[in-house]
């Protein structure tokens, strides 16, 4: 998993390698500096030798300068590497998402993808920066200090050799005990967030039913869980610092005791006071770096969850890809469903489409009618291969959709989704999604076809009017007409409108259909609608019920033979179709 993520380092590999190298050199300097200050005291100050003081002072300043340079270089490289890594990771994630098919997106949910691209990447970025700096620094510091300490006084090495393993075992023991508790705490945190989120989204429901107290109770229970678990974990972690301090002090006392005796016994020849102070500094450094390691460990545990979530997206294989040697030309707009069966999930017991057989001629106008959950949308989403069939095949222009290059197929099959989305930008920018090179004349033409031109120019900014995110500043009917215009701009061979004129008034709806018939007669038009009026004059109308085609025929035929169609028609006639 980690390796998978690290693949995104790419051009920042050099920075990622340089950062720990510079850190290591900085550490070398940092370890040598106390060695030199010991000399400065021993040979300079203690003897009152100003010359020596100045010499060692000079060398120290030079070392500081070098150490500073390395430190700054490592910091800058680490910043560049981690920010770059995050950039690439985000980019790779985004690329995978762009390759996702509809079913991939359904699996993760939009909110899940957004969290991975934002919060999770930030967590991993911070962890990465820490690893290439501190995680290198701490063990390196420990080893180097250990080497220096042992070379200064080989006979005292046993002190470290006993304390370090004891400390390691102690820290390991605490961490292994705390880890499961931490894991549980994270789960409880998710629960807390979920409770708050549900409360926020449903605040009107909460208030309308006067359920504030119940929500408080719910939240209080979760917050109590967090308090209990976190306190437990933190109480375990609280052993870390005193244990470390104990070991540090133990080392220092041992070093002082045996060190002083050695100085006294050898008469200050083999072992000097300067050596003694240096040894104590080294002891501190060793133990500080062990502390760092244990902290890094905690941080890595925390960021691990984020890394896993990111890897999930990177690992996800897009369900639908263009085949090799794909067909790059759609001959015409004929559509055939040959005994198609489809289910959104392998585990569903009942397929959404069950043995559908359907043949549509190029240039025909087809209406689809059916209740909620009758799989109308599912049926048409198979045509531009937004999902793949489970059994049977779907053909466009006589060729199986799975043999086409995806881009070619989707350019030829334009679809206006039920959930229309416009993006922030001008009207023109939104329309150009259909064709980036469209001229103003072409744009105006499709807008006239979709009956959108008049309301666009009615606004002072006309085609340059700004659309807010999600199309919040245009009415539902206007949004639908813009979406139709956008789809028309693709010059498709097949045009699918999935309940796309529901908010458009009947008169305009009729005008749109009339212009379709007059201006784009060769395009196969499939119209899903709730209103019978929208499909009444289609060449053929399909009545869907419960994943199957209940009946096919013209308006007149269906009134005769389809009870569902007749029922819907009668309620709508009663309910309001006065204008028809």
């Amino acid at each position: 998993m980690i390796r998978k993520l690290l693949r995104s380092v790419r051009e920042f590999r050099i920075n990622s390698i340089l950062a720990p190298i510079f850190v290591s050199m900085e550490v070398v300097m940092e370890v040598l500096i106390p060695f030199l200050t010991a000399r400065l005291i021993d040979e300079g100050i203690d003897r009152g030798d100003m010359g020596r003081v100045l010499t060692y002072g000079g060398i120290l300043i030079a070392f500081c300068a070098v150490s500073l340079t390395f430190g700054v270089l490592s910091g800058a490289n680490a910043a560049k590497a981690s920010a770059g890594f995050a950039r690439n990771l985000r980019s790779d994630l985004f690329d995978s998402v762009e390759r996702f098919s509809f079913s991939n997106i359904d699996r993760f949910s939009s909110a899940g993808i957004v969290t991975r691209l934002t919060t999770d990447v930030t967590n991993v970025q911070n962890a990465f920066q820490m690893v290439i700096r501190i995680a290198v620094r701490a063990p390196f510091m420990m080893i180097f200090s250990l080497v220096m300490a042992i070379s200064t006084a080989p006979s005292l090495a046993w002190i470290y050799l006993t304390v370090v393993p004891i400390l390691g075992i102690g820290l390991g023991f605490i961490m292994t005990r705390a880890h499961p508790v931490f894991k549980r705490v994270f789960k409880t945190y998710d629960k807390l967030n979920r409770t708050v989120q549900e409360d926020l989204r449903g605040i009107r429901v909460v208030k309308a039913y006067v359920r504030e107290d119940r929500e408080r109770e719910k939240f209080g229970a979760v917050s109590e869980d967090i308090y209990r678990d976190f306190s437990r974990a933190a109480r375990l972690i609280a052993f870390n610092a005193p244990l470390l301090q104990f070991c540090a002090y133990f080392c220092m006392i041992m070093v002082s005791w045996f060190g002083s005796r050695m100085i006294i016994q050898s008469g200050g020849v083999d072992f000097t006071t300067g050596n003694l102070t240096a040894m104590i500094t080294y002891s501190m450094q060793i133990l500080m770096s062990l502390m760092m390691v244990s902290m890094i460990f905690i941080m890595l545990v925390i960021s691990r969850a984020s890394a896993e979530r990111i890897a999930e997206v990177l690992d996800e294989k897009p369900d639908i890809v263009s085949p090799e040697g794909a067909v790059t030309e759609v001959p015409d707009g004929s559509i055939d469903f040959d005994n198609v069966t489809f289910a959104y999930s392998d585990r569903s017991e009942k397929p959404c489409l069950d043995d559908v057989d359907l043949h549509i001629k190029s240039g025909a106008t087809v209406g689809i009618i059916g209740g909620t959950g009758s799989s109308k949308s599912t049926l048409v989403q198979l045509i531009p291969r937004l999902y793949d069939v489970a059994e049977g095949s779907v053909r466009v222009g006589g060729i199986d959709v799975r043999d086409y290059d995806l881009k070619v197929l989707r350019d030829a099959v334009a679809m206006v989704l039920q959930k229309n989305v416009l993006f922030s930008g001008t009207v023109k920018e939104n329309l150009r999604w259909g064709d980036p090179d469209a001229t103003d004349e072409q744009i105006e033409r499709v807008c006239r076809l979709a009956q959108a031109h008049d309301f666009i120019v009615a606004h002072p900014d006309g085609y340059d009017r700004m659309i807010e995110q999600g199309g919040a500043n245009v009415s539902g009917g206007q949004k639908q007409r813009l979406c139709i215009a956008r789809a028309l701009l693709k010059h498709p061979k097949v045009l699918i409108l999935d309940d796309s004129t529901s908010a458009v008034d009947t008169a305009t709806d009729a005008k749109i259909r009339a212009s379709f018939a007059a201006d784009i007669p060769d395009v196969t038009k499939i119209i899903i609608a709730q209103r019978i009026a929208s499909v009444e004059d289609a060449d053929v109308i399909i009545v869907m019920d419960d994943g199957r085609i209940e009946n096919i025929g013209t308006h007149g035929e269906l009134l005769e033979k389809s009870p569902i169609y007749r029922e819907v028609w009668e309620t709508q006639k009663k309910g309001g179709a006065l204008g028809e």
């Binding site: 500073l68 926020l200 006067v210 917050s223 308090y227 933190a234 006071t273 908010a503």
Partner: protein, 634 residues
């Protein structure tokens, strides 16, 4: 989460850090619940710091007292004295270790306790906020106070505060020791430390400016991600992946540049501070040596011990400067938490309440302690007299004006009445004010002018919780809660039995699909019921209102996602549900509102037509045009 829009960053526009002392005081107030424990903690920190200082000074004592005499003056080694000194040092250190242990353990309880209380208070207060607050703040913005802001506060309580305290103790005690050893050298060190601090503040400021930039760029990128990912299906249908990716890269690159700079300055701060510390050491050695060797103002031993002290002095200063950022950030987070807690709660001066009553054959109402199934408004008067008005569901508006803010009035002069049991419909374009009217009845918003009466009582006099309990609401966007289907229906009335919930589901036509779910009524709904279709969710929410059994119901586009055929099937249930209740219906589908007693046509906050279906059709006005499809709705 749109971090770019969040208020209360620890930096002003120029990138200078500012400390939020007000929030600090409030954090202390929370901590004051643990006064005794904190006193012990402070004591432990003190003991620990002193143990540290004694430890670093005591080495000098050992060297001067037991080693130097042997080496320099050829005195016999005082091994017993040395052992005693070492044992003393050991005892001091042991005190330090024990102090650390207790400090950590006690701090865990105190800090986690404070965090729990902060969270509970935050959530509890959030429940009292008016709807207006939720209209003007994004979910992400509010959520972040529970997540990242609370996290930084935790960091501050468990790490920063104890470290700052111990650093301050260490700095003060070494400073005193340094003054005792040598006043001139102390001034030298104070000058250099000040210079280092000024320098580091400049770098920190630079880093701060870029952090602000980074947050902005991050907010910008996150906004773009949210927009494109939620519209991903459209992106696919239009083969627009490449263009979207190009724009994403542009913003992503910008963020990368800002982040690199922000972290660069933050990263180089530590090595700069550390090495300037070493430099200062050299300067002290040279100056001290010169003072000792030249005029002989100082002894060499004093210089050596001063040098030792200078290390004990700069280390906590470096630590402090490392913590100061965390401290300021945490206070900024705490500031955002308190900001929410300071938001004004919903006003409720209501004193008229709902009471269980018995009504005898003469219409005399007496209050009852037990559940009678009959309700009345209990109205205490200034005279001490209490009157009872039976709960019927009569709603009247008298010349009501309303605006979400003072400049823009969205409802003008609305007058209307609904007799108990009547069905009143609102029709009009998006933004005409239909939903707004219903939100005034349950006092989600308070009116600017005019009067609304419920059963003849001004709704401002009715306690909000009782007013809302007497109103059922079914909204277009259905919100479900994690739990079983049964739990979600029972949300309408917490003491409803399983039987009553199922009856309500049957009444609203939800029973059919619920039984098809894998575990029927015990099926657990998660993620706001995303597995259910919008139509099914609406049926559940109607069942939820049915179980509450209020005399007045508000149906705001409650059946918009149920197709006409299913709606027909549900219609019988809906009719049964509406029977005997005052119902306000908002629907975009005119067939849903056709059989209402009164239909109000709204346009820009004004009722332009009113009457029943037949009379409105006969008027041949706006309604007629809508009905015949000459106008588009929404």
């Amino acid at each position: 989460m749109n971090r770019g829009k969040r208020q209360g960053t620890p930096y002003d526009e120029k990138g200078k850090m500012k400390i939020d002392w007000g929030s600090f005081k409030r954090v202390l107030k929370y901590l004051s619940a643990y006064k005794l424990r904190l006193f012990v903690v402070a004591l432990c920190i003190l003991v620990n710091a002193i143990a540290g200082v004694i430890g670093s000074m005591y080495l000098k004592t050992i060297i001067d007292g037991f080693i130097t005499p042997v080496l320099k003056d050829n005195m016999p080694a005082d091994l017993a004295g040395l052992t005693g000194a070492i044992l003393f040092l050991g005892a001091v250190y042991l005190c330090g270790v024990v102090a650390t242990f207790f400090q950590n353990r006690i701090m865990v309880t105190a800090s986690q306790g404070v965090l729990k209380r902060v969270r509970d208070d935050l959530f509890s207060h959030m429940q009292t906020l008016p709807i207006k607050y939720f209209d003007t703040h994004t979910y992400g913005d509010v959520m972040s106070r529970y997540t990242s802001d609370t996290d930084t506060l935790e960091q501050m309580l468990t790490q920063t505060l104890p470290e700052v305290l111990s650093s301050i103790i260490k700095i003060t005690s070494t400073l005193v020791a340094m003054f005792i050893v040598s006043v001139p050298l102390t001034f030298v060190i104070l000058t250099t430390v000040t210079l280092v601090m000024i320098f580091s503040r400049r770098i920190a400021g630079k880093s701060g400016r870029h952090f602000v930039g980074q947050q902005k760029a991050l907010g910008d990128l996150n906004g773009y991600i949210e927009e494109t990912v939620s519209g991903q299906k459209v992106v696919k249908v239009f083969n627009h992946e490449e263009a979207t990716t190009d724009e994403f890269r542009r913003r992503n690159d910008f963020l990368c540049r800002e982040a690199t700079n922000a972290h660069k300055y933050a990263n180089i701060l530590m090595p700069i501070m550390g090495n300037l510390g070493h430099l200062q050491y050299v300067i002290l050695a040279v100056v001290g040596g010169a003072l000792a060797v030249g005029p002989g103002w100082l002894t060499l031993g004093a210089v050596a011990s001063f040098l030792q002290l200078s290390k004990s002095f700069t280390m906590p200063i470096n630590q402090l400067s490392g913590q100061i950022n965390a401290f300021i950030m945490a206070l900024a987070g705490a500031g955002r938490i308190f900001e929410l807690m300071d938001e004004e709660s919903e006003h409720d001066d209501g004193y008229v309440t709902l009471a269980n009553v018995n009504i005898d054959e003469n219409g005399v109402i007496t209050e009852s302690d037990t559940k009678t199934g009959k309700w009345a408004w209990r109205h205490p008067h200034g005279t001490g007299e209490v009157t009872y008005t039976p709960l019927c569901g009569k709603v009247e508006f008298f010349d009501v004006d309303f605006g979400y803010n003072e400049e823009k009035i969205v409802l003008h002069n609305i007058s209307m009445y609904a007799k108990p049991g009547q069905k009143v419909a609102f029709v009009g374009a998006t933004g005409a004010g239909k939903t707004t009217i219903t939100n005034l009845i349950n006092r989600f918003y308070d009116i600017a002018d005019g009067k609304i009466r419920y059963d003849g009582i001004n709704i401002n006099k009715i306690r909000k919780s009782d007013l809302r309990r007497s109103l059922g609401m079914v909204l277009q966007d259905v919100n479900l809660f994690t739990g079983t289907v049964m739990d979600n229906i029972r949300y309408g009335r917490l003491d409803a039995t399983d039987g009553e919930c199922i009856a309500a589901a049957k009444l609203s036509g939800a029973d059919g699909f619920i039984r098809m779910l894998p575990e029927g009524y015990s099926t657990v709904i998660s993620g706001d019921g995303s597995d259910l279709s919008q139509g099914q969710r609406q049926l559940l929410s109607i069942a939820r209102a049915a179980v509450a059994d209020p005399p007045v119901m508000i149906l705001d586009e409650a059946t918009s996602s149920i197709d006409t055929r299913t709606e027909m099937i549900v219609q019988r249930g809906m009719d049964a549900l509406m029977k005997g209740r005052t119902v306000f219906v908002i629907a975009h589908r005119l067939s849903t509102v056709k059989n209402s007693d009164v239909i109000m046509v709204l346009d820009h906050g004004v009722i332009i037509e009113r009457g029943d279906h037949e009379s409105l059709i006969a008027q041949k006005g706006q309604y007629y045009q809508l009905y015949t499809g000459a106008f588009e709705l929404e």
